[in-house]
């Protein structure tokens, strides 16, 4: 266990710069910048009766959590293992006396740090942009947006990194999962919503008692679980996915193309 932690830490340090400098991260930065820009435009040009809380709630719910968070996590997470395979540098790490899951954990941690940084900044920037409007933001709303972004970024990144352990092209599968499953099921009324990560993230974000949510035209607003329950479910999903990824990478053989 100590060996695994040490190797994870070493690989995290070794890979942080590499992850930061990758082209995928440029795309991730652009994605993270979209919601604050839109929030600023809406805050500037929306009719006078639109409150800042409504802008923050709508953009966080419909755009940020549903599109930006999973796509950004997909861009970053799918590269965790595949980038080493595509660059053919995985050989150096797999022929060192380190537990193989350390590669997944070390690179995942480096990726997560950047995902947290981007999505955290994005959440703060959306709140600041919405706050340009006259009126106050509801108590705790900005914090819930921030938390949903960070938790969502974490769970989706782990999920897509694990898909990358098993599949050569995780991006395609990830896009299919995001659009065909998450987006579709999470917006269909009924119990099936709880099968999606999106549903639990919305449970963290939405407080049905606040007026800003009532005007956001959200279906089944009262069906969300409590934030604590949602966090617990997502923690289980993240841990199970991580264990599956670790077991996978310990056994997988990667054939590098010339």
């Amino acid at each position: 266990m100590i060996e695994l932690l040490r190797a994870t830490w070493l690989l995290f340090r070794m890979q942080l710069t590499m992850v930061m400098r990758s082209r995928r991260m440029l795309l991730a930065i652009l994605l993270a910048a979209i919601p604050p820009v839109i929030a600023l435009i809406v805050a500037t040009f929306a009719p006078g009766d639109v409150k800042p809380g409504e802008i923050l709630a709508s953009i966080s719910f419909w755009l940020n959590l549903q599109v930006i968070v999973p796509i950004l996590a997909l861009v970053a997470g799918s590269a965790v293992v595949t980038e080493e395979i595509e660059n053919r540098t995985i050989t150096y790490l797999f022929t060192r006396p380190i537990p193989r899951p350390a590669l997944l954990f070390g690179r995942l941690l480096a990726t997560l740090v950047l995902v947290w940084l981007l999505l955290g900044s994005s959440a703060i920037a959306i709140a600041l942009a919405a706050a340009q409007r006259t009126g106050e933001l509801p108590d705790g709303l900005a914090l819930r947006v921030f938390a949903a972004n960070i938790v969502g970024g974490t769970v989706y990144t782990i999920l897509f990194a694990t898909i990358g352990v098993f599949l050569r092209h995780p991006m395609i599968v990830g896009l299919g999962y995001t659009f065909a499953f998450e987006m579709a099921i999470a917006n269909v009324p009924g119990g099936s919503q709880s099968l999606t990560i999106q549903y639990h993230l919305r449970s963290i974000l939405v407080d049905a008692t606040e007026t800003c949510w009532q005007s956001a035209e959200i279906l089944n607003i009262d069906s969300f679980s409590s934030p604590g329950e949602a966090l617990g479910t997502l923690a289980v999903v993240a841990i199970v996915t991580l264990v599956v990824g670790a077991l996978g990478i310990a056994r997988r053989q990667y054939v590098l193309t010339a």
Partner: protein, 306 residues
């Protein structure tokens, strides 16, 4: 000396493609050359040896251990892969030191070992430059440095001389000699027989995933010398020279091409080349050019496989 590598009926497939097919070989310590034409299965064999992949069938041991994901074995081996892949954003010293740290050395010790390894491959002047700025030869030497830095018992090197200029090639061969003399077992692959020959007498020949021959270079050379070889000459008077060739027992077939071309098939190429200058001088036929188009390893291997 006991065997450091033992493969028994080892097969490895990539889907429908056969990488290795029932390879059984036992390799003693010291410096050994793994020779075969491109696509023979050398890299597959090396990847199996260092545990990057698992055999589809058969059994393989390296230094008495099963290689795949064997951390104990990884401490004892060094691997220099063929692919030109490095972390380009890192400096040469950083790259080697970061990989050495994964053996459990402290940061200070890793740095010291990295510098020493880079000095051994003559990269001391470039080690503070970004690896992405290195030439192909420098990148090759960096890959070698990361493989030797921790002082492995067995060094597995895949095509280490490709991309090197003659000076670097000589220095690299000298390094392997030094390592061998210091007691490191070295297994290096090449598709060029004479490169390996200048380094070691022990070679393993593989072709199409199978063991073709194993032993000293002398044994293999004797085997190869019986390979009928085609020699293409351009001469002023091809018909006179062809007539003279017919006196030789080892000459099998002669074909004319163009006005001054002659293709001669010989079963004893060494004797042929020994006798040719005297014959040409005696007849005064004026040889303009001489080449042996099927002298490459691929042709020889095809012959040996039958």
């Amino acid at each position: 000396m006991s065997a450091i590598i033992v493969a028994k009926d080892v097969g490895r497939w990539y889907g429908e493609v056969v990488g290795l097919s029932d390879l059984s070989v036992s390799i003693e310590g010291g410096v050994t050359g793994l020779v075969g034409p491109n696509g023979a299965g050398k890299s597959t064999f090396m990847k199996l040896l260092v545990g990057e992949i698992r055999p589809s069938r058969g059994a393989l041991t390296v230094l008495g251990e099963t290689p795949f994901a064997n951390l104990r074995l990884y401490r004892r081996i060094g691997f220099c892969p063929q692919q030109d892949a490095l972390y380009d954003h890192m400096r040469g010293r950083e790259f080697v030191a970061a990989l050495v740290r994964l053996y459990g050395f402290s940061a200070k010790e890793s740095n010291r070992l990295a510098i020493r390894a880079l000095e051994r491959v003559h990269l001391e002047d470039a080690m503070e430059r970004k690896v992405g700025e290195y030439s192909k030869g420098m990148r090759q030497r960096t890959r070698l440095a990361q493989a030797i830095a921790h002082g492995p018992e067995l060094l597995v090197v895949d095509e280490p001389l490709s991309g090197l200029d003659p000076v670097a090639r000589h220095e690299t061969l000298e390094l392997f000699k030094e390592l061998g003399e210091a007691g490191t077992h070295v297994l290096l692959s090449s598709h060029v027989l004479h490169e390996v020959q200048s380094l070691t007498q022990e070679i393993v020949l593989i072709h199409r995933g199978r063991l073709l021959a194993q032993g000293s270079v002398g044994d293999v050379r004797r085997l190869l010398s019986r390979h009928p070889r085609r020699v293409r000459l351009t001469v002023r008077e091809p018909r006179r020279l062809a007539e003279a060739f017919l006196r030789f027992d080892h000459v099998g077939a002669i074909r004319f091409h163009d006005d001054d071309g002659l293709d001669v098939e010989t079963r004893d190429v060494e004797t042929f080349f020994k006798d040719l200058p005297a014959l040409a001088t005696e007849l005064g036929v004026g040889i303009k050019s001489l080449e042996s188009p099927d002298a490459d390893l691929e042709a020889i291997f095809d012959y040996l496989v039958g």
